[in-house]
Symmetry: C2
Subunit: 286 residues, 2 copies
């Protein structure tokens, strides 16, 4: 999907987040924000939102020479998530439908998205956890479950740090030996990289690869040839989160999108209300 | 108070609101948004937020030749508010404390602020109305009431359209013959002008003047000499809303600010949580 003008306030907010994370110097904040606004005034809105964000975050990293502005936030999210998954594991053990319950938890983890919102608090996550068990899931759930049981090569596209601990819960419900988890090739926003996937212990149950790209989504032509081959070879893609949806919604492939719809633009594009937990191909007519 | 970098996403959102209201032409939307982002990249953050907004909204009006982009939104808010005040009037008649209850309603009306948020819905206003009667008010309320009873010349600085119907309810509880209501001198955002004050029937109970300025606040040096004289002469100023607070918080004068705190910046500046209903001088140490 293309970038909408409604995405612009979000790019501006992301810029402000980064600027504040990089330094405490107020004059530097101001100078950087002015640069960001100029860059945003020149974006190519024919690109997907993650492609625009990729350019913007790259420029910010280049100008400031800070390679991973979100490092502290990402560490905090990983720490928090690692605490939170323990009680969920026991809930799953007593669940009648551990597959769909773990799927809900994976989608719930998708609230930890500093691209869509700034400052996710412990309280935000607790509030989401409280209601997760009863969240309706949008999609043909049997098709999803059957496909996961039958697929020989499942490529699971990760989204964010913290969230990835909840992904692990769901990967445990999949035939994990047939799952490859793909993370970003380099830090961008709070997206998960190999280090985060390892920290969540996913390496113990599934293969981890990276996509070779620093976009907060999956821009196939920007990914490594190896990732592209793995994407082509997979008979089922499980694509997590908004950034992956924004970049893959027009790709012809057996992709199941799992995400929480967090913004009005995605809501309009998918035809589903904000807040919906989705586990669907999101292409009802194809 | 000076503009904060955190105000920038709000300026960007306001720009997008205006752009969408002015035309349905997508190419025009894009061109205008690029202009706005460039202008915002060059703002003087030494100014107050309404002074920045004044420049920005003026530029948008000049470039598009649309004098009052918010006209339709303002009409809708006035229509809605005129419906909503009827039940409140009867609530006031049976209230033990009509002064403070009407004050709450005036502050409640302050949710109709397209500077702080876009798209206020009927539901937003209903939700606010439901809880208004029990809203705690922050401030020295007896000092406020006594001052209003004793003051010879009360200058009431209006804020927004729609909201102004709720202001009328409160002005009826003041010694209205000693009240002068001041509106903006020209349209800006959804701020009330003379036409709106007349529509709310305030002319029947109090004098109406305008401040001669097109800022969404009260920048004294930008106001007409007549308004400045009236401001100087008043022995009590009742200043409504965030824009007036942002522009008058540093002015030495007997000003009572009445507003709902709607954004984290004002919250930090006033030292009160977002959501607080304020009726206070907000200068505890002076």
């Amino acid at each position: 999907m293309k970038t909408s003008l409604e995405c612009i306030p979000c790019f501006v907010r992301q810029s402000l987040d980064v600027v504040k994370m990089i330094t405490d110097n107020a004059a530097e904040h101001e100078r950087l924000m002015r640069d960001c606004l100029k860059w945003i005034s020149e974006i190519n809105i024919g690109l997907t939102p993650p492609a625009v964000a990729q350019i913007l975050h790259r420029k910010m990293r280049e100008v400031t020479e800070v390679k991973d502005p979100y490092k502290a936030a990402k560490d905090a999210h990983n720490n928090l998530a690692s605490e939170l998954v323990a009680p969920l594991k026991s809930r799953l053990r007593s669940s009648n439908e551990p597959f769909f319950m773990a799927l809900r938890y994976a989608i719930m983890g998708n609230v930890i998205d500093l691209g869509a919102k700034n400052g996710i608090s412990r309280e935000d996550i607790y509030a989401e956890m409280k209601n997760a068990d009863k969240q309706p899931l949008f999609g043909d759930l049997n098709a999803f479950k059957n496909m996961a049981a039958e697929a020989k090569k499942i490529l699971y596209l990760a989204d964010n740090t913290g969230e990835i601990f909840f992904d692990r819960l769901f990967i445990e419900q999949l035939p994990a030996s047939r799952v490859t988890l793909a993370v970003r090739g380099a830090p961008v926003i709070n997206d998960a990289t190999r280090e985060d996937a390892e920290l969540a212990g996913i390496g113990e149950i599934a293969e981890i690869i990276d996509n070779g790209s620093d976009a907060p989504g999956t821009i196939l032509q920007d990914c490594s040839p190896e990732f592209q081959r793995r994407f082509e070879d997979a008979d089922m893609i499980i694509s997590k989160g908004q950034g992956n949806y924004e970049t893959l919604s027009d790709v012809e492939k057996n992709i199941f999108f799992i995400l929480k719809i967090k913004c009005p633009i995605i809501s309009a594009h998918a035809g589903l209300p904000v807040g919906t937990y989705v586990a669907s191909r999101l292409k009802p007519n194809k």
